[in-house]
Amino acid sequence: MIAYLIRRLIYAIPILIGVNLLTFALFFVVNTPDDMARMQLGIKRVTPEAIEKWKLQKGYDKPLLVNSRAAGAGQLTDTIFWHKSASMFVLDFGYSDDGRSISHEIATRMGPSLAIALPTFLIGLACYVSFALLMTLFRATTLDIAGVALCVVLMSISGLFYIIGGQFLVSKLWHLVPISGYGDGGFKFVVLPVIIGVIGGIGSSSRWYRTIFLEEIGRDYVRTARAKGLSELRVLFTHVLKNAMIPILTGVVVVIPLLFMGSLLTESFFGIPGLGSYTIDAINAQDFSVVRAMVFLGSLLYIAGLILTDISYTMVDPRVRLS
């Protein structure tokens, strides 16, 4: 099993290299630094000197892949690729357009992101699974049908609506909690984004879990459990839930590391100083270094999630653990 995990870790390396090359191609080959400079400076102020100056400022004044003017290892290291892309492997993300260290920014913004995303994730999971179990317990009754219909309606509503509507309702009509902002990160700042985040996911997630439960409940071992004389609740909670954990984990564990990245929409609407709003701001300001850094960080965390998923399998599935 350890060998298996080590193999997964080793397998992650070429994927990260792939992501790195992809971002490099996207940011420096599709459009050359000259193009970016032209765009950033605005059409009117473009002069060759201005472009050179901009490139020098941002550290884009080097060849892309091979520096024929440098000597020895410098041929490879004194390039944009080495400084801007390869350096991300050691989590050195460089500086944003406003001159701040991206790594430092990421470190300080992870906290607020997590403060919103983690409760949303945990409460959400609990809600969705319970709702799905409820529908499964009452399957093929009016309650189940109504539940599914509710899910379909809820998942047909835009996520933007939940945020705008929720914000309006709670903060404006009822004056309960601040409409946005993070302040000291206290409960009153966190509660609204979390509730809205949970409600936003109810439709699709509960329905998905219900499908999983229903698939499990049709299996032969469930019939065996019933033939033992177990009550329907016992069957559902001890037998079905344990087995359904395996497909549920596939979709759930992988996002845990990504919680650090926060949610783009929620954070920007509620003014949470997390990584999500950082990303949005960078997109709006067309700050390529930050977007690049976030892309790399995102895939790093995703791969961490994949490995975590594998580990979680070994915990719930004896077939993986013992063979």
Binding site: P14, I15, G18, V19, L22, T23, L26, F27, V30, N31, D35, M36, R38, M39, I43, V152, V153, M155, S156, I157, S158, G159, L160, F161, I164, Q167, F168, E215, G218, L258, M261, L264, L265, S268, T279, I280, I283, N284, Q286, F288, V291, R292, M294, V295, G298, S299, Y302, I303, L306
Partner: protein, 431 residues
């Protein structure tokens, strides 16, 4: 008048052609028709299909583009047949915000009255309710009622032979349309936005954008996912390794970030080559097509993984082994045995993806990496209206209209998708 075929139009026509070919093909094969009959038996599916086809109709009318001849040259403005049909809506722009069915602007303005005094009043609208001396609830009610009655009559005429649920849907839809048409002639049914454009017109125009995002994307997704997924599953070995590597790399980047990065780069390209486009519409359109391309590039991996898994299962089926023992070529096995047997997965995935893509468009446009800001879409409508949330009293109608139309579209798409899945998924019990 010069017909204009934008890139997205061409792709829509391509899709339409593909649908017609598929339709014709399915008509001739009883076993292909069978699951569709099951879809047809579902009242929910047929009702949602009815709603969807109205949306598609508007979208298609909005896809036939042309430029008007203007003393020798052509106008730089690209119009569509829908624009022509909805000309009053398009041209009747007010000064700024007005509430639905209002006859006056939403905010007081200083005007000079006949006596030359400066007074703060709600100025009357140029078009909305211009036939009335003053606001009249009675006129609105009368017009709504006559429109609705005409609609109901037309609906009864159209739907009297249909099954009950469908007939009811037809009548309700017809009543709604009749009411709206009758009111829209003299009112702004859903109000006007900041620059005085009719919100109903904007909402209807947004439909095309949503539909294109939801469907044209599949033109990218489908071939990639199908060929790579099936090839990976069937050939295994290094082919599988390479394809798996590619899709793991792509799917490991959070999709919003990948889309954001790609759209930003596309924006740079578009901005640095302004000479590529002869009209603003074609520039916005190209951005839309690119957005579909990027969405397709980021969303094929899920379907690809699904198809790979299914192909791995299928290749062990005995009929494939029988074909192999005849020495049938791999290409032929793929095209005759594997692809026909994964088509239901593709169809289910595509109809299920549609609503997700429509919703994604709104979010992306809001984030600033969606469609061109000049293109009318649900996302840009919401983005524009959101800023007015803080106003007292609130300007709610543009938001409500965008969300309402989007909900109707996505809900009916979801319901239809569910029915398709129920009819095509062999794992579901059909007793």
């Amino acid at each position: 008048m010069m017909p204009v075929i934008l890139w997205s139009d061409a792709l829509v026509f391509l899709l339409l052609g593909a649908c017609c070919v598929a339709f014709w093909h399915i008509r001739r094969h009883e076993h292909l028709l069978l699951p569709w009959r099951r879809v047809g038996r579902s009242a929910v599916a047929m009702c949602s299909l009815l709603v969807l086809s109205l949306f598609v109709l508007v979208g298609l009318l909005d896809t036939l583009h042309y430029r008007v001849a203007l003393n020798g040259a052509y106008s730089p403005e690209v119009l569509s047949v829908f624009d022509k049909l909805a000309e009053p809506l398009r041209l009747h722009t007010e000064k700024t915000y007005s509430a639905p069915l209002a006859v006056a602007l939403y905010a007081k303005e200083s005007t000079t009255d006949e006596q030359g005094r400066v007074v703060r009043t709600y100025p009357r609208l140029k078009y909305g309710g211009a036939h009335l001396p003053e606001a009249s609830g009675y006129d609105v009610a009368r017009r709504a009622l006559t429109g609705a009655i005409a609609g109901v009559l037309a609906g009864l005429l159209l739907g009297f032979k249909a099954r009950r649920a469908i007939g009811v849907t037809v009548v309700i839809l017809a009543a709604l349309i009749g009411m709206t048409l009758n009111l829209a002639a003299v009112y702004h049914v859903l109000g006007t936005d900041k620059v005085g454009q009719d919100v109903l017109y904007l909402s209807l125009k947004s439909i095309r954008t949503g539909l294109i995002i939801g469907t044209v994307t599949t033109l990218v997704t489908l071939p990639l996912a199908l060929f790579l997924g099936v090839a990976a599953g069937y050939f295994r070995g290094w082919v599988d390794d390479v394809i798996q590597y590619v899709y793991t790399v792509l799917s490991s980047i959070p999709s919003v970030l990948l889309i954001a990065a790609a759209v930003l780069m596309m924006q740079v390209t578009i901005d640095t080559h302004p000479n590529w486009f002869d009209t603003a519409a074609s520039r916005a359109d190209l951005r839309l097509v690119f957005l579909c391309l990027i969405l397709g590039m980021t969303s094929w991996t899920g379907l690809c993984r699904l198809l790979r898994g299914e192909t791995l299962k299928l290749r062990e089926m005995e009929y494939i082994q029988a074909a192999q023992s005849f020495g049938v070529s791999s290409m032929r096995i793929l095209s005759r045995h594997i692809i026909p047997n994964v088509m239901h997965i593709i169809l289910i995935a595509l109809v299920m993806d549609f609503s997700g893509l429509v919703l994604a468009e709104a979010v992306l446009s809001y984030v600033g990496v969606g469609v061109d800001p000049s293109m009318i879409s649900f996302g840009t409508m919401i983005n524009g209206a959101r800023l007015e949330m803080a106003r007292e009293p609130m300007v709610w109608w543009a938001l409500a209209a965008a969300f309402g139309f989007m909900l109707t579209l996505v809900l009916s798409a979801n319901l239809f998708a569910d029915a398709v899945r129920d009819a095509f998924d062999p794992r579901l019990n059909r007793s």
